[in-house]
């Protein structure tokens, strides 16, 4: 462990003990803020761990982020600290507290509200403590501030540039009231505000304690050295990798105003000695719905995607010194004010991350990762008319899903999104108390995992039925009903996302992945799956015994074991898990698939569409065997999207088949 570090370790200007002690103390201080916010917050979104904390230096650079912070805030906290510095300059005083949620100033979306407290010592500004949490509502026309239909920020929610809320210790209640009067359930927003402000105070007290013990000069030196340390650590890792350039494209489903066309996000990565360059030129111009991403959020996606391959390197501004990011202006990954960006988390964000996973899977095959399911938010808002209730309710839900297949093992089943695997899903029993919605099922979806030598993780589905309610509407923020969660190195896709009303009845209606204000009545039922992860490696090479185990557990059906894996399994007695692999038939089936599968992927689109609509083949056949993209609301195949999707299938999947 300690052999090759001689030259590097001399570089710090602190003795090794003081350095290590202060580095850990910064981690501790930030985690202490996080713990406090988790235990005192009011927004259930924060309580579900959609928050982050940081200490930044006097220039706004991040010194340390919380160890359990959500991915989606990574790489943005320094930007909002700098925004406060830009706007207030010398006019920052002890006892001030600022607030900012502006995605055009380095924020993520309006719901992510950052409370920033400058820390002074002997009248010198030395640091900022930052607590960032997703408030349950920040105004706008739609509860939860997720307005799918909004094309600009005016309809999304309240945009708050850096604003002062405490001035030299005095609480500016007029400013706070102006703000929360534009939000739903204002008293809870004030609760969050107070809780976050108190959390930053906890960080401040800890920092002052460190300064009193170690001296200001030592602590300020440690601020720099901790960033230098991360930079040094990162550079030493990158230097060990080959130089080169890698490129790939992932897609958002569509621009509603364009129609049939996947929206490309292009990621070109170059490793040059001990630095990494990401160039997202070639990505589509910004689109007419809120799946665009602002600069800060896209930067975050690049950092988080990269960090996944260097899990042990701590997060601070030292990381941003060896990772360089070029985001083309006016594009879907760098949307300017006032373009709507609230849905970035379901849109551009995870596309950038998964594209980066794909690139690094080539460089570090032992840590390869196929595409994971898409983050999704379902919102039902309306009037609760249950006996004893007479209030506005919000059923605001997100699901776990399957993660991508990996180099030596299957993807993780039913895990929180890559957007933040620490984000916890909500208990149905809690939701049922708070809203007139009964959850009818919350379960793993058989055959949702993308087939592969190492299959993706299984996805989940969750749905329910409305009871006593009035004036109730549903909105959905998701993606990948067309840019279906893909496999790599020969692996196959999982299944399309998308919500349905009245599932499995004659009135079944497919609503897609982006919609808002769909009216619901008492008795209306709904359902939606989360995708599984994409597969890794040729499914025909999967050990039939693993397929058998999956069949016993119901992760894979007998039918799909045959179609996806070419494994023929005979059911002998399901009640006692008695099944049998027909080895000979399996060999024949695999041979048959191997011979024909390239042809299936070239089958005429209309013919696939017709066979699907006649019931001859199902949705999984359509995507996995034929690579055809269908609009499930109309049953019509989409020729442009299909062509784009088939191109990627050729590159990611076909090219690896023997």
């Amino acid at each position: 462990m300690s052999q090759h570090t001689q030259s590097q370790s001399i570089a710090t200007r602190l003795d090794p003990v003081t350095f290590e002690v202060l580095k850990n103390a910064f981690v501790n201080l930030v985690d202490q803020m996080s713990e406090q916010i988790l235990r005192t917050c009011y927004s259930f979104v924060i309580y579900s761990r959609d928050f982050s904390s940081a200490i930044c230096d006097a220039q706004g650079n991040t010194i340390m982020q919380g160890t359990q912070d959500i991915s989606v805030h990574v790489g943005t906290l320094h930007l909002t600290a700098k925004a406060v510095l830009e706007d207030f300059g010398d006019d920052i005083h002890p006892g001030d507290v600022f607030l900012v949620n502006d995605p055009y100033r380095g924020g993520t979306h309006f719901c992510d509200v950052r409370i920033i407290r400058p820390v002074f010592y002997n009248d010198q500004l030395i640091a900022f403590m930052q607590s960032n949490g997703h408030w349950a509502d920040v105004g706008g026309t739609v509860p939860g501030s997720f307005n799918v239909q909004s094309k600009d920020h005016y309809g999304e929610g309240m945009r708050i540039p850096p604003v002062r809320l405490w001035s030299q210790g005095r609480y500016l209640s007029d400013v706070a009231n102006l703000m929360v009067s534009n939000m739903r359930v204002p008293e809870e927003r004030l609760g969050d505000l107070r809780a976050q402000s108190e959390a930053t105070k906890v960080g401040e007290a800890q920092l002052v304690r460190l300064i009193e013990k170690y001296g200001l000069k030592t602590v300020l030196t440690a601020f720099e050295e901790v960033q230098n340390y991360v930079e040094r650590l990162g550079r030493s890792r990158i230097a060990e990798l080959p130089n080169g350039t890698w490129e790939t494209t992932d897609y958002i489903d569509m621009d509603p105003e364009i129609g049939d066309q996947l929206i490309p996000i292009n990621v070109r990565m170059t490793i040059q000695d001990d630095e990494i360059y990401y160039d997202l030129n070639g990505s589509h111009p910004y689109i007419s719905c809120f799946l665009n991403s602002g600069f800060g959020a896209s930067f975050s996606a690049v950092i988080s995607g990269t960090k996944t391959f260097f899990p042990d390197i701590p997060l601070n501004s030292g990381f941003y010194r060896f990772v360089h990011v070029e985001l083309p202006e006016n594009s879907v990954v760098n949307a300017p004010w006032p373009v709507a960006v609230t849905g970035f988390c379901s849109g551009a964000y995870e596309k950038i991350m998964n594209a980066i996973f794909e690139l690094w899977s080539e460089i570090m095959p032992e840590r390869a990762l196929a595409c994971s399911f898409n983050l999704e938010y379902l919102l039902i808002g309306g009037w609760d008319r249950r006996p004893g209730y007479d209030n506005y309710f919000m059923w605001y839900d997100w699901m776990a899903g399957g993660h991508g297949g990996r180099a030596h093992k299957d993807g993780a089943n039913a895990l929180s999104p890559v957007f933040g695997v620490g984000l916890s899903i909500q208990p149905c029993e809690g939701q049922e108390r708070l809203s007139p919605v009964i959850t009818t099922h919350h379960e793993i979806v058989t055959d949702s995992a993308g087939p592969g030598k190492f299959r993706g993780g299984a996805g989940v589905r969750k749905g329910g039925i409305l009871t006593e309610c009035e004036n109730t509407v549903m909105s959905y923020c998701c993606d990948r009903s067309r840019s279906v969660t893909w496999g790599i190195q020969g692996g196959l896709p999982s299944l399309p996302h998308g919500a349905k009303l009245h599932p499995d009845t004659e009135d079944e209606r497919f609503l897609g992945t982006i919609f808002s204000n769909v009216p619901l009545k008492p008795g209306t039922s709904f359902d939606r799956p989360s995708a599984g992860g994409g597969g890794l490696g040729d499914p025909l090479e999967r050990d039939p015994r693993l397929v058998l185990e999956d069949v016993i557990d119901g992760y894979v059906s007998i039918e799909r074991a045959q179609k996806d894996y070419g494994v023929i399994i005979k059911e002998i007695d399901r009640e006692i898990d008695l099944f049998e692999i027909d080895k000979e038939a399996t060999q024949q089936e695999r041979e048959y698939i191997r011979t024909h599968r390239r042809g299936w992927l070239e089958e005429d689109i209309e013919s696939v569409e017709a066979r699907y609509n006649s019931g001859e083949i199902d949705a999984l056949d359509v995507i996995r065997r034929h690579g055809v993209i269908i609009d499930y609301a109309t049953g019509k195949a989409l020729p442009v999207s299909t062509e784009q999707y088939r191109t990627t299938l050729h590159k990611r999947t076909l090219a690896y088949w023997s």
Binding site: P311, L369, A400, L415, S416, G430, I444
Partner: protein, 681 residues
Amino acid sequence: MGKYRVAVDVGGTFTDVFVFDEEQGEITVTKVSSTPDNPARGILEGVKNSAVPLQDITLFSHGTTVGTNALITRRLPKTAFIASKGFRDVPEIRRGTKLELWDAYEDVAPPYIRRRDRFEVLERVDYNGKLLTPLDEEEARDLVRILKRRGVESVAICFMNAYVNGQNEQRMKEIIQEEMPDVYVCTSSDTLPEIFEHERFSTTIANAVLGPIVSKYIQELSASLHADGYNGDVLVLHSGGGVMTSETVPRYAARLASSGIAAGAIASAHIAKLCGFQNAIGLDMGGTSTDISLMYNGELRVTKDWYIEYGYPIGFPSIEILTIGAGGGSLAWIDEGGSLRNGPQSAGATPGPACYERGGTEPTNSDANLVLGRLGTELLDGQMTLNIEKAHEVVRHIAEPFGYTEEEAANAIIKVANANMCDALRLISVRRGYDPRDFALVVFGGAGALHGAHLAKEMEIPTVIVPPHPGITSAMGCLLVDVRHDISKTYLVNVKEASLDELEKEYINMEVEAAELLAEEGVADDHIELTRYIDMRYMGQWRSLSIPISRPIQSLEEALEQFHKEHEREFAFSNPEQGVEIYGMRVTATGVVPKPDLPTSEPEGRLEDAIKGTRNVYFEESGGFTESTVYNRSLLPVGSLFTGPAIVEQLDSTVVVPPGFIAEVDAYKNLILTYKDKEEK
């Protein structure tokens, strides 16, 4: 005929048998190798070796790793899970999160019950307890037929909203018991009637998979002990810090998921109280890790966020123990960024520290302590020799890159280890709003006393207590406990709308249930103590705080005031203007077990006779190696007083008394260290 109390602590490597002779007031300890394949065998052998006649044992209490091992290895009975239709995957979906956020290859452990063993049945209750769909009995019976065919040994019945209405669960249980009378059955409404399906189901599953195993284990152990002449109860320690008897083990098996963990915390709390402290932090530092606990106002902190493996919570209240990877065997290393690190990797028992000469090649805390002269070259009264050359050799791995001498490097290693422990001490104290200056630090475990004084100085903790036998303090904890049960339930109501009569009725129901449990265990009525707690939170908040409440309830005002105060203490703010909601209720029922009086001694002998000699010990605060007196602890007279720098050696531990510290031996033979400059600081 003597009277003995026996406590057994079954560890991974050793089984310690702690015998307290009630008549002579003497303590003896016997160590035998653990027998993981059948832990009862090690216990019986240890008891046999201790030479105590079984018929003379008045109380037998123990902590066991049977439950922990079964969970971790997944060597579990064939257990089926039955859920409401649509919810059989709750134990696998969990809350969706993982602990290791950034490493895509680090997975959450698989569920205790595989998907093939998870079943569904048609039934449903709503949020209010209204029966939406009665149990489909035809379906239920058909399911039982299948379970029979599958040879199921245990069943967890977990229905949605059963915490408000457990009727369907109960009916399902009856049907199973009719058809399969020998099967072990748990319902979620009996196990932990609290809201949130994953947490309740997870606790119920832990109960179901452990029930048959720990019941069988306790029965066999009892049978063996009784066959050899013991005629009392076999008590077993649970994570809540009490003991239970074999009678209640089947119902609360999950409380034994980690039975021994609370023993050290209980012992340290007891010792601190004997020394006159109501606030104390326990620090148990062993070879690979350190367990830290906190007592405030005479009560150990309790948590409900507890698990053996991440993702599978066990919702019963447990003594809060913070474990960090810092022990005598923790490795010191330099990472690729040039930072000096300590742990969490450990050389463990094999290869162990380099100075043990069992093949260790990387520097550990023990090697550094040896280089610094804090550890002597002989341990266990000369039964083990440490190789100081080897220690120097490996410490060089740290010294060279930094341009340090070996002593400076060793000092740096220990300082980083101490800083990590201080961070953990801060987590459990300062972070929770406790001021360490109001506490005593009880240090034990093999390595605790080597570090305790420096930790206390850093944290400004005024007093350090080193118990007489640091290495076996945990085992002693098993003798210091009461029979204890915690009954809890979710109860949601705005404080303003709460009816005192309703609350009182609920509490009485819970108390009756608790008292029945204790009665089954043979606790006499006049030995039962009941304590009530109420969980409260600000309207709109998500977490609650547990507040003690009077019995019977006089008013909610007092609890409310206490809630604001606790919120202020723990989070540094409160808001008396804001509405408060009751979230849950808990009753703690204690069957008081008379505690042994730990022996006290009169001053006897002379301090000089305890001096073994002197050696040079490295203390940075004195500028380097400093001549220090070495004492033999077993010869230290009660009441003696001496100053650091000094080293106190004993069979199972070494105590470092740094310069500036005063050491005193109290009547219980605890060593009390205080920092004499603390007034001037």
